[in-house]
């Protein structure tokens, strides 16, 4: 297994980097059977596993332009997933400190039936909406054509009379500023670890 990325997978990664949702879905289902048992064994809870996997792939999607430089997707995803697992385990420790005063039999069950992750997705979406509204006019236009109208990079290039490269770079810049905006409002999606970037 010396080759981390096959030719086909490389094409898939490029498509995802450019915002192809269907390609993202393919990646998701390809690696879910591998990540799911891994996460489950670490966090030992079906509820938490779902949240961790979701957060992992949200991170992947919001950092999608980096996928083009990835030489080993599987390892990349394990890292993201491990990071999310760590976040969870550490947040449990925080909770544990708060509950330490109660005896074991008094502790409430740690799972709960509310869906913090779905509320979270909604919050993140709201923040992204605001971040997009703050983009300079041309960048916002290109972003809308891509994400709202689902147009491909060549299509946008033709429509606006600019080069596809410019479109692509603009989208990357917009995605970065969205991440910055999110991070200012408490959601860190920036790159936590540097690896496997092809020069």
């Amino acid at each position: 297994m010396a080759i981390g990325v096959t030719c086909e997978e490389e094409k898939l990664l490029i498509r995802i980097a450019e915002g192809d949702e269907q390609a993202f879905s393919v990646l998701f289902y390809k690696y879910l059977p591998l990540l799911h048992p891994f996460v489950t064994r670490i966090v030992k809870s079906a509820y938490v596993t779902e949240e961790v996997i979701q957060n992992t792939f949200i991170r992947v999607w919001l950092n999608r332009e980096k996928l083009e430089g990835v030489s080993n997707v599987r390892s990349w995803l394990y890292k993201y997933a491990s990071n999310e697992c760590l976040n969870h385990l550490r947040s449990l420790q925080q909770k544990g400190k708060v509950l330490a005063g109660f005896s074991e039999t008094m502790t409430e069950p740690t799972h709960d039936f509310s869906t913090p992750d779905l509320v979270r997705i909604h919050e993140i979406n709201e923040l992204i909406n605001r971040a997009v509204n703050k983009l300079p006019a041309q960048r916002r236009r290109i972003y809308m054509l891509s994400r709202r109208d689902g147009k491909s990079i060549p299509e946008i290039a033709i429509e606006l009379g600019i080069s596809p490269n410019t479109v692509k770079n603009t989208l990357v810049i917009s995605l970065k500023s969205i991440r910055e905006y999110l991070s200012k409002h408490g959601y860190t999606f920036s790159f936590l670890f540097l690896l496997f970037i092809k020069e």
Binding site: G4, I42, Y78, H111
Partner: protein, 429 residues
């Protein structure tokens, strides 16, 4: 070799040993929380693909489940929608987010219209009449009802008012903590050999109850179910027996060690549930057992922790009983007629919906749906004429009269339900 060289290679050797140790613990599912964190940090900082190769090559690290349906079916779409700008204004869902999450696409509309209907109907004194017959002969939902039988045969009815101490027997006290919850309290710590009697709590059709056992474990009983347990958990295991359906949150307990040498290394005190031809061994965890006789199969669904399920019926000649270990999110099925244990990924929400006062059907067979309704409303069902045995998906509160539930079923199927006294008749439209 110079000193740094020696220590350098020593460090590398130690690292490798440590990594191998952690991977072995992971493979055996024996990682402590600290070890898990250590391993996760190593994976995150892994320079070559070494760790991910090792992990993915473990035989049980690739699941063959179909992830395209159920809760994973709409996840990629939800994720990619996260940075889709909304057209104008925000697109907040009209109904509660929680409902939105758990219901399959086909049933979302039904639940929306259902919950809006209940909001409006509360404001009007006269809800719009769809079928006068159904309204007049409606049946209220089940409630907190159970009977506790003490070791000496005394029976205590657990519904009605009045919280606080209900009775005592020997070294235990029965305390009603609140409506629907009773606790069996040990007054003094129990030594082995103490006179130990068996207690029993049973729910009727239309009943449910929560019991806190002498060790702090919590059990929720569904309708037409029961649990037998000792007044004190002495001995090397904690054993209870159930019929019907129960959801457990088992407290971690350790054995009281008499030998001072063992005091610093307490052994876990296992919790074992007998249900028909199955034994479930538990070590501090949350799970649901469905062992109704008329279901034909014993279903055990694990939410958190770990359990070992053993099939205890079958050939007496076989000394070896079938046994399987469950991981969170998995469900085991054992047919009453004996045979093997089937383990599969499960919809844990569906399995414990009853405990949260909900009916939740996820592609559920009609007869199974009707059996659940019969137990909760204490009614009987009659199937008239030729009925397509379809599958139903939906989500509705258990705390409503039966007509509401049946109306929902009518809306999502091509069936018609009528109520006469305590009999529900099902026909094709």
């Amino acid at each position: 070799m110079t000193a740094p060289e020696i220590f350098g290679s020593y460090d590398r050797l130690m690292d490798e040993q440590r990594i191998n140790y952690l991977l072995q613990r992971f493979s055996d599912d024996q990682l402590s929380t600290e070890e898990a964190e250590e391993l996760l940090v190593l994976i995150r900082e892994d320079e070559n693909q070494f760790l991910s190769d090792r992990i993915s090559s473990m035989s049980d690290m690739y699941s063959a489940d179909d992830y395209h349906s159920g809760k994973w079916g709409d996840m990629p779409g939800k994720i990619t929608a996260i940075d889709k700008p909304s057209k104008n204004g925000s697109n907040k869902p009209v109904i509660s987010l929680r409902v939105f999450r758990w219901v399959a696409a086909a049933a979302i509309f039904i639940v929306i219209s259902y919950s809006l209907w209940t909001i409006f109907s509360r404001q009007n004194l006269e809800p719009s009449v769809r079928s006068a017959k159904v309204r007049v002969q409606d049946i209220p939902p089940g409630g907190n009802k159970a009977v506790l039988t003490l070791g000496d045969g005394r029976k205590i009815v657990l519904d009605g008012k009045g919280n606080g101490a209900l009775a005592s027997q020997g070294n235990i006290r029965i305390v009603k903590k609140r409506d629907g919850c009773v606790q069996i309290e040990a007054l003094k710590p129990q030594a082995s050999g103490t006179d130990n009697s068996m207690l029993m709590v049973q729910t009727p059709r239309g009943g449910k109850y929560e019991i806190i056992l002498p060790d702090g474990s919590r059990v929720w009983l569904n309708a037409e179910s029961g649990i037998r347990f000792p007044s004190a958990f002495t001995g090397r295991v904690r054993m209870v027996e159930i019929t019907g359906e129960a959801y457990f949150e088992v407290a971690k307990k350790y054995q009281i060690q008499n030998s001072p040498m063992k005091a610093s290394n307490p052994e876990r005190l296992p919790f074992i549930v007998k249900s028909g031809s199955q034994e479930t061994e538990v070590l501090g965890t949350h799970f649901n057992i469905n062992a109704y006789d008329d279901e034909g199969v014993i279903k055990t669904t694990l939410l958190e922790g770990s359990v070992r399920v053993t099939a205890t019926s079958g050939e007496r000649k076989n000394l070896w009983h079938q046994t399987k270990l469950l991981r969170p999110g998995q469900q085991s099925l054992i047919r009453f007629a004996g045979g093997s244990i089937l383990v599969k990924e499960a919809d844990t929400e569906e399995a414990v919906a009853w405990k949260n006062n909900l009916f939740r059907f996820s592609d559920t067979n009609l007869k199974t749906v009707m059996r659940q309704i019969c137990r909760w409303y204490d009614v009987n069902v009659d199937y008239e004429g030729d009925i397509q045995e379809g599958h139903l998906t939906g989500y509705v509160s258990r705390e409503v009269p039966v007509s509401r539930v049946l109306r929902m079923l009518e809306e999502i199927s091509d069936l018609k339900f009528t109520i006469e006294g305590r009999k529900v008749t099902v026909r094709s439209k």
